[in-house]
Amino acid sequence: MSAGAPPQLSEEDLLVPATRPTLGKRLGSMTRTYASAVVLTLGLLVAWELTVRLAHIPEYLLPSPTQILGDFKTDWVILWPAMWVTLREVLIGFVIATAAGIGLAVLLHLSGPLRRALYPLLIGSQTIPIVVLAPILVILLGYGILPKLVIVALICFFPIVVNGLDGLRAVDDDFIQMMYTLDATRWGIFRRVEFPGALPSFFSGMRIAATFAAIGAVFGEWSGSNAGLGYVMLEATPNLLTARIFAAILMLTVISLALFGLVSLLERIAVPWAPKRESA
């Protein structure tokens, strides 16, 4: 029989239009998505400003938003170079954590004995307070960038490993049996089913890690350094330059948000097939 008579294909066979929404529409939906967050933030800032002004709270106790803004102008020469130092620590540390996290998750997934041996140690390692560990690392590794990278990486790699490992292990058994009947090797199953299937989980871990990275860098700088936003804060505290501390915190927040956004962007590029999730 000639299969030149293909079954009639209709519009219904395609469930979703293949076209993407236009830029205008996407901007519109973004505005709607973030409108409530913007309104809330502005409201809080106004309340903060009014409280400080009406209660006559001294600047060294709690600076108002406008005083913090003013500090950016006077302290820009201090804050700007400090931000670059911290940004570098955050980015490099995060990349190290991601590489190590993915590598370790894959290793633990592929080897049962290794997983059983290392997993409890991995969990245990997270109970060591980084605040205690940081000064020791500085003694060991000096005042340079190295101890900061180690601390950032130590904080960041854990959520990546745990999420990634969960993702790798969550792959449906039916897929694996299907692959075996299609002549797959263990490696083929990992490469074609498990790893791509676990990518969204790896990205979840990376997004959590992105919010930790800046904290790690500040811990590192507090334990011994002569540059970076953490160092700026440390120096400002005994001098009661509270506005400068807040300005530095704001810059840290910007770094964290930017890293989070970068990871989300990468996820969209690497995992375009993933079901759309409500953005946080």
């Binding site: 395609l14 049996q177 002549d183 083929g188």
Partner: protein
């Protein structure tokens, strides 16, 4: 199917003729702890014939398929798939198509269908070139580059079936392949499947709980009992594959067979 597809000796073109025993089961028994899933299953089908297995849910039908496929060994009895008895050799001869289409969501329809070739170490572009012609032949032209999420259930099952054809195994094990589809799509898919198998003969073992589907698609229908699954009836169906479906299902012979099967299921 293009000749290049039959590069491995296990394929339909590697064997010489459409005769000989396709699948043979002798006294197959399987238990899971206290539960006896299968007991003393015997049947045999010719190469490139089609056998349907019907029975109540939980009667061990899927277990039987996994045993034939070599994904599992029976506790008692022996399975022979085209002469092969060892689990690994059976696995090399069988392709399993489950109820869920199990398409990989990150791969396009074409790249899902090529996966068996890629698993054998054939480059992706080469695998695509070999598989692309099949899409046109089996009514999937223009759907090559579409991701599964954008396809309807019926189309996904077609891609899934195409994937097992590309694997070029002589034995197809279909586990409720259309169980998740609505009845209209299901009827279309049954016709489509018969047409595809007319072009690409395979030894087919079809598991279903739909007696009508089993009678329409198979030459022999085996009725399994509730747990423990035993063969309680064997019926010869063998209806013409090119006759209109309505004519077949209303024929006295079909009605009588359906009656017998339903009675055997109880």
């Amino acid at each position: 199917m293009p000749a290049e597809l039959s590069s491995n000796g296990n394929g339909p073109h590697g064997a010489s003729a459409d005769d000989g025993v396709g699948i043979q089961l002798r006294g197959i028994g399987k238990r899971f702890g206290e539960i006896v899933a299968l007991r003393g299953i015997d049947f045999e089908i010719q190469r490139h014939s089609r056998i349907g297995i019907v029975g109540p849910s939980g009667g061990g039908k899927s277990t039987l398929l996994h045993i034939v496929a070599g994904l599992m060994e029976p506790d008692t009895g022996e399975v022979t798939v085209e002469g092969a008895t060892a689990a690994g050799d059976r696995l090399a001869r069988c392709a399993l198509m489950p109820q869920r289409d199990l398409l990989l969501p990150w791969r396009t329809a074409l790249d899902n269908a090529t996966i068996a070739l890629e698993n054998r170490g054939i480059s992706r572009s080469e695998a695509r070139n070999r598989t692309r012609p099949l899409f046109a032949r089996f009514g999937l032209a223009m759907f090559e580059d579409v991701r599964p999420a954008q396809l309807s259930g019926g189309m996904r099952q077609r891609v899934s079936f195409l994937r097992t054809l590309v694997a070029d195994k002589d034995v197809l094990l279909l586990d409720e392949p259309f169980g998740a589809l609505d009845s209209i799509t299901r009827a279309q898919m049954q016709e489509w499947l018969l047409r595809a198998l007319g072009e690409e003969p395979r030894t087919v073992l079809l598991v279903t709980h739909d007696v009508e589907e089993a009678l329409l698609l198979s030459k022999v229908v085996v009725v399994l009992s509730a747990r423990p699954g035993r063969v309680v009836r064997e019926l010869t169906a063998d209806f013409p594959t090119d006759a209109p479906r309505r004519e077949i299902v209303t024929s006295p012979k079909f009605v009588a067979l359906k009656e017998q099967a339903l009675e055997a299921i109880g």
